[in-house]
Symmetry: none
Subunit: 379 residues, 2 copies
Amino acid sequence: MDDPDHRAHWLRLALTEGVGPQTARELLARFGLPGDVLAAGFPALQKCVPEKLALALCSEIEPAMQAQVDATLEWATQPGNHLLTLADAVYPQSLLTIPDPPPLLYAKGRVELLSHPALAIVGSRNATVQGMQNAEQFARTLSQSGLTVVSGLALGIDAAAHLGASAADPRSGSTIAVTGTGLDLVYPGRHRALAHRIAEEGCLLSEYPLGTPAIASNFPRRNRLISGLSLGVLVVEAALQSGSLITARSALEQGREVFSIPGSIHSPLSKGCHRLIREGAKLVESANDILEELRWYRPARTPDAHAPAAGGPAGNEAAFAHAASARVLHAAGHDPASVDQLAERSELAVPEVQAALLALELEGRIERLPDGRYQKLMQ
Amino acid sequence: MDDPDHRAHWLRLALTEGVGPQTARELLARFGLPGDVLAAGFPALQKCVPEKLALALCSEIEPAMQAQVDATLEWATQPGNHLLTLADAVYPQSLLTIPDPPPLLYAKGRVELLSHPALAIVGSRNATVQGMQNAEQFARTLSQSGLTVVSGLALGIDAAAHLGASAADPRSGSTIAVTGTGLDLVYPGRHRALAHRIAEEGCLLSEYPLGTPAIASNFPRRNRLISGLSLGVLVVEAALQSGSLITARSALEQGREVFSIPGSIHSPLSKGCHRLIREGAKLVESANDILEELRWYRPARTPDAHAPAAGGPAGNEAAFAHAASARVLHAAGHDPASVDQLAERSELAVPEVQAALLALELEGRIERLPDGRYQKLMQ
């Protein structure tokens, strides 16, 4: 994955207008790696994407895009900066279980945190002081218990959650900020120092190309990554009609848990939380309620259990993913099989099966059929 | 049912030691009316009740019990007083659906209310002022919508619910108090005026014989009548391990709805409410939430707008004090907060905060909790 050409192909694919996560997934499933997509030629491409997009993918790269690719590759050489492709071992496994994982992620900081069990904490930008204190306290306890706290770097609840998680002792779960802009920009501007701190102690993550400014429509889309990276989403304070409720909905669609903190019936910022509880979110009064619900019994980390930050992705996790792929491949047999069937046969959890299937699909060893089932490909 | 002999039989049956609602129901099912039970004779009675009880039922009535029967029949001749037997048409139909309806009920006031659709409102005796205001407001709206509000005449939430329901206009649903003592006694003593008012505008109800003092074990049993008379039970504020949770459990056993008002996760009196919500009670933010859930569409009558208090502080000093109050009030948010927290949030000195708090407390805009923290009251 350190081959710059290889990464240039991923970048070109991801940067091409009209290639969203869904299209990228389809193209990769059909042709293999991005280099194969770009070399497939117009007739083949035209069969699965609109003509204009097929043309863009098989033409000579335009100078402006070449410059952007070069600048991004240069950015990625700087200490702490990372480009993560869907095919990378350090690409967050949790995102492989959502329907639309970004083909390319930009990260700044401790990328190994992306494979940690995580919990998202979100809420209003116009939070109350009590709400921010709650966010900070919940984040601190969850982080001390070894969970990484994911949020969106916004004012209010988000910031309090990041601060609470990074204020926990250095062996804690730390924090990940998923931003809605390119990672070379900070939004909101007054969170420059916070973003810097997270890049040091935790991790900043974005699916948006460098230079992408704050565009309103990008933020709700970004929310699916906040929930996707997490075992569950805690909503601390939220008005009706707020972005936090979008994140909660993403979480439900992705099969994640939703937790909600109740409050006064006279507080407008509790109304969103109360609606979520009515709709089935778990009412929580303390971080321990969340840990119990997740059956997360791991106490705060001990020094010897702490993986060194400089070590890169843990070998264990990669080995585990590999073993899971082998089991799923074995379980697939020769007939089409559904995810549930594969989970039952392989005795793996559904998200693990989904992650393995995506990896196998990218490796060209298994095929996703139009009806959603999977078919092993004979080599 | 106005035949005194007939009623004397019901009274004797109900007053006999060892005849609870369950035994009474079995005896009546077997023999017919109470006169038939008393005439059944020892051999027949012995087949379904213990020997001692069979003997008591078929013996000559003892003078002390005869005196009690006579006094009760005399009490029932006074205006507003009623004895209701299981066989009476005015016996509350709703209680016939619970497993253990009392054979005899003592009522004082508008007995026709006992056949109205009703909702119970219960909660802590040590309620916060905000909790009592909530109880009163919910009760007023429910009563204005035509529902009768049932509660237990206790201090705190119960009293606020009765007051809210009886403060509604005279065509409203009014209120029923189910007491744990004989109806010739009032417990707690300081609710004498309230009990008198309910006997005028609403209805007092008890299953306990005249003269029964406040006995701790009678109150939890009484709770089954509060829920039994109602379509559902609203718990406004409740500690863990409280009588309100017993009423909620009765409601569930009787197939009634349970509604619960959420609150700050830092308030001990919300913990019982939160537990109920976790266990499946409906979280409600307003009386309309209850009406919708019950599909009770009769609209609430428009309440008179509250006239704002006239006058106010004047001069610079007063203006400054006013500004400090406003800042403290703003800083208070919706959760309980300590003086130090309020000083930090409002950026005022502690003495200024204390002065503002005192003024706000006197104006009824903030409440001092037993633990020394302060809670903003919603007007």
